[in-house]
């Protein structure tokens, strides 16, 4: 397992997931809820992909106990937890915009 590559993939997928969650909020703000839902789904798929890589690192470490923790890895975990939070908030905000705009 290439730890640099795995960390970068986590950053890329978590980052892409976060970015699409933010775009979903922007779409909902404009009233385009079809687009918002689509972006939320894409966001979720990217973040799930990042979690799979993240778990891969954890399982690898549990198995072989040879993972040398680097700043890049910590940074990747940071990106992933940030993306998780933004995704959860985006789901709520899209729902909130729906209720506000249809009230």
């Amino acid at each position: 397992m290439d730890f640099v590559e795995t960390s970068m993939e986590i950053i890329a997928d978590a980052g892409d997931g976060k970015s699409q969650a933010m775009e979903a909020i922007q779409a909902a703000k404009k009233g385009d809820f079809g687009r918002a839902e689509e972006l939320l789904q894409n966001s979720h798929n990217s973040i799930v992909k990042a979690h799979k890589n993240h778990s891969g690192l954890l399982f690898h470490d549990a198995d072989k106990n040879d993972v040398k923790v680097t700043m890049l890895m910590v940074h990747a975990a940071d990106h992933l937890s940030g993306a998780d939070i933004i995704e959860s908030i985006a789901v709520e905000l899209v729902q909130l915009y729906k209720e506000v705009k249809h009230a």
């Binding site: 890329a12 980052g15 976060k18 970015s19 890049l72 940074h75 990106h79």
Partner: protein, 104 residues
């Protein structure tokens, strides 16, 4: 010399991509300077940048960036998560140079 500016939230992970791009350029004698910076500094950097690349994590900022800096139209792209994750400096550099030459 051409200058390509990479930006993400704090310039950390794009720094990795920047190094791979610069290495490919140096190894292949391509005259280009690649820099990685935090998004907050973008305003000071665009004057002498030939192209700006946003990290995938701030792709959602492309529209507001263009509204704020209309001069970046045709000079800005979001790095694809796949290329970013694989640290594919060669592909990102070649595509960016192609875009710069298309605009020239």
């Amino acid at each position: 010399m051409r200058k390509i500016v990479l930006v993400c939230e704090n310039g950390a992970s794009t720094g990795m991509v920047m190094k791979r791009m610069q290495k490919y350029a140096d190894d292949n004698k391509i005259s280009v300077k690649i820099e990685a910076h935090p998004y907050a500094e973008l305003g000071e950097l665009i004057a002498d940048a030939d192209y700006v690349l946003l990290g995938p994590q701030i792709g959602y900022k492309k529209d507001e960036t263009l509204q704020k800096y209309p001069e970046l139209a045709k000079k800005i792209d979001v790095i694809r998560p796949m290329d970013f994750g694989m640290l594919n400096g060669e592909k990102i550099l070649k595509e960016t140079i192609a875009s710069i030459e298309k605009n020239a």
